[in-house]
């Protein structure tokens, strides 16, 4: 079909043009912004010698990254390990607690206040205590990351488990469904979109929790994650390495977000409104 086609009116032509523009802009715009940022950053760093010392130009950061690649990569693995272990425990713990909450109103009344208290108390203020009570260096960091990450999973999954269609619940009751069947075939699928929403938040929070815990642990020997590398580099006035580690953390965060977004889309693509493409 061409724009001169009588069935292709001005309105449709404009819409088609907008679609083409958006298809290019979707990746071109973010890329342009990143490139522009690097150019401005480079200009700013080189604008004076002292400024370049504490605010290293991109080529310096890149060179440091290549030089320290082995060490930074090892640290990245440590941080990633803590992040994913914390996320895994947050998922298991959050979903299990949510199931408990929806099965027993009393369990919810008893435990929910603790979940809220853990959530609203800043992790940096709890962490020193945890480091006193827990000796294992991995476990203490893991606990911190878990506390930060599990709440969105818990609250979202609880909400999801409670939002099953009441007619469907009646139908299951009429057909004599067991507790287990109701949970497995009705409540868990209903809760899926909510759980996945929680997962997207928890993924980012697990990383933040891991980083914060490493900071609080400081140089007391609790491993050598990326946060520890930043601290160490700051003591040594190694600004390029600080930037290199910081950028690595940011990229990991973006990748975790992209991965959880993809997982969410993958599981909901067939049926949930959030993952469906609207025609026109």
């Amino acid at each position: 079909m061409t724009p001169t086609d009588p069935a292709f009116d001005a309105d449709e032509a404009r819409r088609a043009r907008n679609r083409r523009i958006e298809a290019v802009a979707r990746w071109a715009l973010p890329l342009a912004v990143v490139i522009l940022t690097i150019i401005v950053w480079n200009w700013f760093s080189n604008s004076s010698a002292t400024r370049g010392m504490i605010f290293p130009a991109p080529p310096k950061v890149w060179a440091r990254f290549l030089a320290d690649y082995g060490m930074l990569f090892t640290s990245l693995m440590v941080t990633l390990k803590i992040t994913f272990m914390a996320l895994a425990i947050a998922i298991i713990g959050g979903v299990a607690l949510a199931i408990l909450f929806t099965q027993s109103r009393f369990a919810e009344l008893i435990f929910f206040p603790y979940a809220v208290i853990l959530q609203v108390t800043p992790i940096v203020s709890i962490a020193p205590l945890i480091f006193i009570y827990v000796q294992d260096p991995l476990a203490r960091v893991l606990i911190c990351a878990w506390i930060v990450a599990f709440f969105p999973i818990l609250s979202n999954t609880t909400l999801g488990l409670k939002s099953t269609d009441s007619n469907l619940r009646d139908l299951y009751a009429i057909y004599g469904a067991t507790w287990w069947q109701k949970l497995l075939f009705l409540q868990l699928p209903s809760a899926m979109p909510y759980f996945l929403g929680g997962l997207r938040i928890a993924g980012g929070l697990a990383l933040i929790g891991a980083i914060v815990a490493e900071y609080v642990a400081g140089i007391s020997g609790s491993g050598s994650g990326l946060a520890f590398r930043i601290l160490e580099a700051s003591y040594r006035l190694n600004y390029p390495r600080m930037f290199a580690a910081l950028i690595m953390i940011a990229i990991v965060g973006v990748i975790i977000f992209a991965a959880t977004t993809f997982i969410s889309w993958f599981f909901l693509r067939k049926w949930h409104e959030s993952a469906l493409r609207r025609e026109v």
Binding site: N167, L168, L171, Y175, Q181, F185, P189, W271
Partner: protein, 269 residues
């Protein structure tokens, strides 16, 4: 392809009893009487409509029969053992699981009895064919129109060949054209498998077209006011819908319903 078995439907006077509601009352919160002293005998093969204004307890009666709640007083006596799950239900909304395909939705009653999908595949196919959805096994509910979703819901209610089907204003949310088509198809389906149906509605026309027995109910407190019989023989079709007989019957039922509602307005004096 296995066929759904056919239960013979006898003339009204010879039908064996299926269940009896004896002096059923239901009071909510100790003060709101949803249903007051309801007596009803349901026979095998009946197409019985509960007709009345909102608040007359017709849905409450249905929920009591379904076993979703217990009566405050009175008893529901089933003829023979009543297994849980020997009832099919259609709600006002299609009530499908959005994450499951059409065929998997219809599988639900079997699945909850522990029967695998493969073992009942033929029966699901038969049920879907009966409601005209043989080409939509793998479609998701969101891809279907309102009428088609309701057909899936009906197929799910019929698929286990239960002896009683409860329908709670199933077509109230559909447009008139879809509704008439589904009324026709429902009668054809019932004729084919010969089950018993209790149909809750607030439409006089629908109740006369579908049922051979109509129980007219009134509100505050919810109660049975009158029971009517529609004698026109099945199968009923477009011809019946335009016949003088149909018009006369709707007139009688309308009057009964008006008295049921009017009763209440007189109370206010």
């Amino acid at each position: 392809m296995t066929d759904l078995s056919h239960r013979p439907v006898l003339p009204q006077s010879q039908r064996p009893r299926l269940l009896e509601m004896a002096g059923i009352s239901k009071v909510f919160n100790g003060s709101i009487t949803a249903l007051d002293g309801m007596n009803l005998t349901l026979n095998e093969g009946d197409f019985l409509s509960l007709l009345g204004p909102s608040g007359c307890g017709k849905s409450t009666a249905l929920r009591l029969i379904a076993g979703l709640m217990r009566p405050t007083t009175g008893r529901i006596i089933w003829n023979g053992a009543q297994d849980r799950g020997d009832i099919g239900v259609v709600f006002q909304e299609p009530t499908l699981m959005p994450w499951a395909t059409v065929a998997k939705n219809v599988w639900l009653p079997f699945r909850l009895r522990g029967q695998s999908f493969a073992s009942v595949k033929d029966r699901i196919a038969t049920a879907l064919k009966l409601v005209g959805l043989e080409n939509f096994h793998d479609a998701y509910p969101r891809e279907l129109s309102g009428g088609m979703k309701m057909r899936v819901s009906i197929a799910r209610a019929f698929v286990t060949n239960p002896r009683l089907i409860l329908m709670d204003e199933p077509f109230a949310a559909l447009d008139e054209i879809t509704r008439q088509k589904l009324n026709d198809d429902l009668l054809a389906l019932k004729d084919k498998i010969g089950c018993t149906v209790i149909f809750v509605t607030h439409s006089v026309f629908e109740s006369v077209f579908l049922s051979d027995r109509i129980v007219v109910m009134a509100a505050r407190p919810g109660r049975v006011v009158q029971e009517l019989t529609v004698d026109a023989p099945y199968p009923r079709d477009m011809e019946f819908r335009t016949s003088p007989d149909y018009a006369a019957q709707t007139h009688v039922v309308s009057d009964a319903l008006r008295i049921a509602i009017g009763d209440h307005s007189h109370d206010a004096h």
